[in-house]
Symmetry: C2
């Protein structure tokens, strides 16, 4: 496998993560690179969603993916089959990425030729919500098997995200998942949250989400 | 709702968590209380598994449950319907419980009349693995929809647990989940890991797991 690099990222030394995140965002603005931070529980389908999103957008945007994981390269290996640029980031046990760590990843990836950079954060609904990575937008996935009560239990994550992908809707008949109730709980925490029900595996519902994302990238590049 | 108490637990001040955990275990040994630390991703079915486990064991053991959550009381409300003693622990945003926090929970629960205390830890495959809670055994749940690659991605969690419940096996036909491959990956990290495939919702496979747990409690109380 030489289709992707593996980068061991180091703990950040910056005093203020928020300041570092703002600085990174300003630099990305100048470079006309849009950074999306994608978060979720383990196993909600982040990588599969990325594969479907790449397929929908790769003719329109130059895409680069950062796959953060505590260990293993399985996700970068998967993404590399899509033909887009990808780097595997190993966090050495860290449960989240902050702006300094994201900067290391972006430098490793190289963003000169990237319109849309996506960080697949560590699978964790708690810690990643507490750290601004410097992303322009935060996205999260909640998969149907996890249950419609998750906004009640992980309110910060649902509060800081701009968009929610409700994934694995193809298996909804086999679970007690009430989409309306879930969305109601989400909007109580975060009235502006965009919600897209999708099945990444079955490639259902991808177009509205991909169009929304493309629009965000264009706005960022043109504003 | 007055069937359970809600306790706001505070961050621990102990210098060495490992020492505090050992001390707690020794005290539990003298009280003949067995403490199980149950961990998993969000939405893997911890509370449903507890409900099925309580039903299988409540005639044989005096059970007390600590439901840890960042926010919400939904799990304690559910458990309280089983008739066993339960307390809801709020961690105030903390992503894990350590031994000091677990001690606060046990004191809140009251363990004089408890053979088996179970801590439902925060839904998170990363941080809880790093902190000894003082439990006699660590258990984890991996649910089928999360995927059979999770041992590759969260190796520490799979390494420090004594028992793995593979939950939601009733929906296995709708997912690409290879149980044999999963168990092979688990045993590569942790050759002694006990594995029980279950469906907590359908109450399938509960008896072997409950019998194993009952045996552990008896050994702890008699040794």
């Amino acid at each position: 496998m030489d289709k992707y690099r593996v980068l061991e990222i180091k703990e950040s030394v910056f005093e203020s993560n928020d300041r570092e995140a703002d600085k990174l965002r300003q630099e990305l603005k100048q470079e006309k690179t849009f950074l999306l931070n994608l978060m979720s529980s383990p196993g909600s389908g982040k990588t599969t969603t990325l594969m479907a999103t790449i397929e929908a957008l790769k003719d329109d945007l130059r895409i680069g993916i950062m796959e953060a994981d505590i260990d293993s390269d399985v996700d970068a290996a998967t993404i590399s089959t899509s033909g887009v640029k990808v780097i595997q980031l190993h966090t050495g046990g860290m449960c989240h990425l902050d702006a300094g760590m994201t900067r290391q990843g972006l430098e490793g990836l190289g963003t000169d030729d990237v319109d849309l950079a996506i960080l697949e954060n560590i699978g964790n609904l708690v810690c990643p919500a507490e750290f601004d990575t410097g992303a322009v937008k935060n996205a999260m996935i909640l998969s149907v098997p996890e249950g419609d009560d998750k906004p009640l239990k992980y309110p910060l994550m649902f509060s800081i995200c701009d968009v929610l992908l409700v994934n694995k809707i193809d298996v909804a008949p086999y679970f007690n998942f009430d989409l309306d109730k879930c969305i109601e709980r989400v909007h109580k925490l975060n009235p502006n949250m965009k919600v897209f029900p999708i099945s990444a595996l079955k490639k259902e519902g991808i177009e509205p989400w991909a169009n929304w994302l493309k629009e965000q990238v264009k706005e960022w590049q043109e504003a």
